[in-house]
């Protein structure tokens, strides 16, 4: 599934990022395969998304999140 589908409070691991669509800046902030991601808060209409990626708190738009593949962690 993609990061755009994550629910609030859910934790996941980034599996793949499509580097053509993702700006380098986001990668440098820790949005890389293997790192953890958690949805902290969503704005109205679920966009943008306020995330905790690898300890960094940042907000990105849904249109960016669909290019990030994740796998949720149970529990």
């Amino acid at each position: 599934m993609t990061l755009a589908e994550i629910k609030r409070g859910q934790k996941a691991i980034i599996k793949d990022v499509s580097s053509i669509h993702i700006p380098l800046k986001l990668l440098e902030m820790g949005c890389l395969p293997g790192n953890s991601v958690e949805l902290v808060q969503v704005a109205p209409f679920a966009d943008p998304m306020y995330l905790n990626i690898n300890g960094s708190h940042l907000a990105i738009r849904k249109e960016t999140a669909i290019h990030i593949l994740i796998e949720t962690i149970d529990g």
């Binding site: 580097s19 800046k25 440098e28 902030m29 820790g30 395969p33 990105i60």
Partner: protein
């Protein structure tokens, strides 16, 4: 004593880098611009132990050495140019203890440039609170650096840092990452082509869109035995580099840092539940904005009245103390009256900058960006456009510079184009004086009509900005990559010292910047108003005396008639009456016309100009407001500033593009004259039209 040590402070945004800078330099700092660009350059002097002095430069915040904005380019340009006079002997990387992992990315990059580098771990006062403990010895060993654990809030660790800077020669220059491990084949051939160059430096020159390397890069591309790669391939390698760096950082922190999550407290989550909530978030934001405007209007009225009266008495005092003559007149009527027009709104500017500084420092501004993004996108703007639109209420110039972190060029351009509609503080003196003249006192639901009018004007400005953004979004055919990344920093109690320094610095820059223009204009205006061509001006006494010979005028009344006759036939009067036909339909006379024309230099000149024009030839001590209230419409009779002409003026100033400095900034930021000229013509044309309609309906 040896030479000064050049120190560069580098760090991610929101790490408290500027607090460290303030702690090191105190008031020994100056803010300027990098030559040719509008990026702010902060530098200062710091006294170090053993009589050494350091020249410290606070570089713009950046997440990495891969620049994506003008501000970030400054960092790379300096670090790659050994011949720059500011090239650092030692780099100090400031990091935030809570975001060490991400902050270390930049650290490893700078280390790889083989510049001696000190690591500052800031906000150490939060370690216990967050359950973080560090093995500093291990970290120093792995990162091959010296670490200063600093808390600017508690003023701890600064002397350690100074000590480390003083003995910077002992620092290791070994890199963290072996550049050729990113792609051995590619970097191997690169090294072969340039055997004497640092690989990582070459790599930066190849991958950056920075103008520093025009010659550098050309020389790389010119070497025939080295084949450069496509953009996509390069980006892939940059990603690989980033992953490698994080591997190194993760390995280092695994042993060097332990986080006990159980003892960590998280205020952020609790606050964000409310402050970024779908309903409460917006309500709170609205209340904050209302409070700010109310405060600016209420709190600054007292010092403003005081300043207005002081300048009136000062001008009167100069006239009585100095011997009469052209110089005294120039000083009293030209310079002091003109300066009064700018000094009067220092209180409001200071308050606005104070509130904006608090919103930024506390971390709340990022939440506003998050909340507003979706709504602003509908109008072709970005959530990040909110920051320029809010700071535009202070001044459009820093606001337009604040658009730099908007990633999409289209969203950024639209923000730049519409920001001058927001009610900047230069409009305030005009608004306040006209509102005081034409809007009756009295209250509606406990709010004064005058305050409501002011608020309405703010709303009109904001509405015009958003509305024109919507239209621009439909018209402009620019395809640009839209992406949006905003860091949500931790909430922090703003440090009073930082806030105070920002407010002082910004107010000073603003007042001196505008002050120079106003001073020049008021001197020119005074000359134009005090001298005139031809018979009518030079023989004014005779003409007027003859004209009123039959009527029984007191000497005082006669003198006034002479003065106004002179003014009417002075250079300024002649010019003013030449343009009068254009502005008459709006309900203005030629004096207002001159004020409007001169306020195309800067809006706040309006009040100063009227003050200068009205005080030429008048002897009594009067405040600007009373002088304006006494003006009579020469054709219709009755006060010149009545409801219809007042509203028309207010609307004209709400929409017109009257600020040369803003136009200059727009030119710089968009790199073309096309956009500022569009702004000037379209905004001012629209302003004229609206003012015309308003006057014709209301008169």
């Amino acid at each position: 004593m040896g030479k000064q040590i050049n120190v560069a402070l580098i760090g991610n945004p929101n790490t408290g880098k500027t607090s460290v800078f303030n702690a090191l330099t105190g008031l020994n700092q100056k803010v300027g611009n990098y030559p040719g660009i509008t990026v702010e350059k902060k530098e200062g002097i710091c006294k170090l132990p053993r009589g050494v002095k350091a020249h410290i430069i606070d570089l713009p915040g950046t997440y990495s050495l891969n620049a994506s904005s003008l501000d970030e380019n400054v960092v790379i340009e300096l670090l790659l140019n050994k011949n720059d006079k500011d090239f650092p002997d030692v780099a100090v990387v400031v990091s935030d203890v809570e975001n060490l992992k991400r902050n270390l990315l930049l650290f490893t990059q700078i280390k790889d440039l083989e510049i001696p580098t000190i690591l500052v771990i800031n906000m150490s006062d939060r370690m216990a609170y967050k359950g973080i403990s560090l093995d500093l010895n291990y970290l120093e060993q792995q990162l091959q650096t010296k670490i200063a654990l600093v808390s600017t809030r508690k003023n701890e660790g600064i002397s350690d840092l100074k000590e480390l800077i003083t003995s910077y020669k002992e620092l290791s220059k070994k890199p963290c990452l072996n550049a050729s491990s990113i792609d051995p084949q590619y970097f191997g051939s690169l090294q072969k082509a340039f055997p004497n160059q640092l690989l990582y430096k070459l790599w930066l020159v190849i991958t950056q869109d920075v103008n520093f390397g025009k010659t550098d890069r050309k020389s790389i591309e010119d070497v025939s035995n080295f084949k450069t790669k496509s953009k996509v391939d390069l980006k892939h390698l940059q990603q690989k580099e980033t992953i490698k760096r994080y591997q190194f950082i993760n390995d280092t922190l695994k042993k060097g840092q332990t986080i006990d999550l159980k003892s960590a407290k998280d205020l952020r989550i609790k606050l964000d539940r409310v402050l970024t909530h779908k309903v409460w978030g917006y309500l709170i934001f609205g209340v904050i904005l209302l409070t700010i405007f109310q405060a600016i209007y209420d709190w600054s009225s007292v010092p403003m009245d005081f300043i207005d009266e002081s300048f009136a008495s000062l001008s009167e005092w100069v006239k009585t103390v100095l011997p009469a003559g052209a110089f005294t007149d120039l000083l009293a009527e030209g310079i002091i009256a003109g300066l009064g027009g700018i000094v009067i709104f220092i209180p409001q500017i200071a308050f606005l900058f104070l509130f904006i500084a608090i919103l930024e420092e506390s971390g709340y501004m990022s939440r506003v960006v998050f909340l507003m993004d979706r709504i602003m996108r509908r109008f072709g703007l970005s959530g990040k456009s909110v920051v320029p639109l809010i700071s535009g209420t202070a001044c459009a110039i820093p606001a337009i510079m604040a658009t730099r972190n908007i990633e999409s060029w289209k969203e950024r351009l639209i923000t730049i184009l519409v920001t001058p509609f927001t009610t900047c503080s230069a409009r305030l003196p005009v608004y306040l004086i006209i509102i005081a003249l034409v809007i009756p006192e009295g209250r509606f639901l406990g709010l004064s009509y005058q305050a409501l009018t002011l608020m309405l004007l703010y709303l009109i400005g904001f509405g015009a900005a958003v509305g024109s953004a919507y239209i621009l979004n439909k018209i402009l055919k620019i395809r640009s990559k839209t992406f949006f990344v905003v860091e949500m920093p931790n909430y922090k109690l703003p440090l009073p010292k930082n806030v105070a320094l920002t407010v002082i610095e910004k107010t000073k820059a603003f007042v001196f910047g505008a002050g120079k223009i106003i001073l020049a204009i008021s001197i020119v205006l005074w000359f134009l108003a005090s001298y005139g061509p031809g018979e009518q001006f030079n023989n004014a006494e005779q003409i007027v005396t003859e004209q009123f010979a039959t009527t029984n005028l007191s000497e005082e009344e006669l003198n006034q008639k002479i003065a106004s006759h002179k003014l009417e036939h002075s250079f300024i009067g002649v010019t003013g009456r030449a343009i009068e036909p254009i502005i008459r339909p709006l309900g203005y006379d030629w004096k207002i016309g001159i004020a409007i024309v001169s306020s195309f230099a800067a809006r706040e000149v309006f009040v100063g100009t009227l003050a200068t024009i009205y005080s030429v030839g008048s002897d009594e001590e009067e405040t600007i407001k009373n002088r304006m209230a006494g003006e009579v419409n020469p054709i219709l009779g009755g006060p010149l500033f009545n409801f219809a002409s007042g509203i028309s003026l207010l609307l004209f100033y709400a929409f017109a593009m009257q600020c040369m400095s803003t136009l200059a900034i727009v030119k710089k930021e968009t790199n073309s004259w096309k956009w500022p000229i569009y702004q000037l013509v379209i905004m001012s044309g629209f302003a004229y039209l609206v003012a015309l309609i308003a006057y014709q309906i209301l008169k």
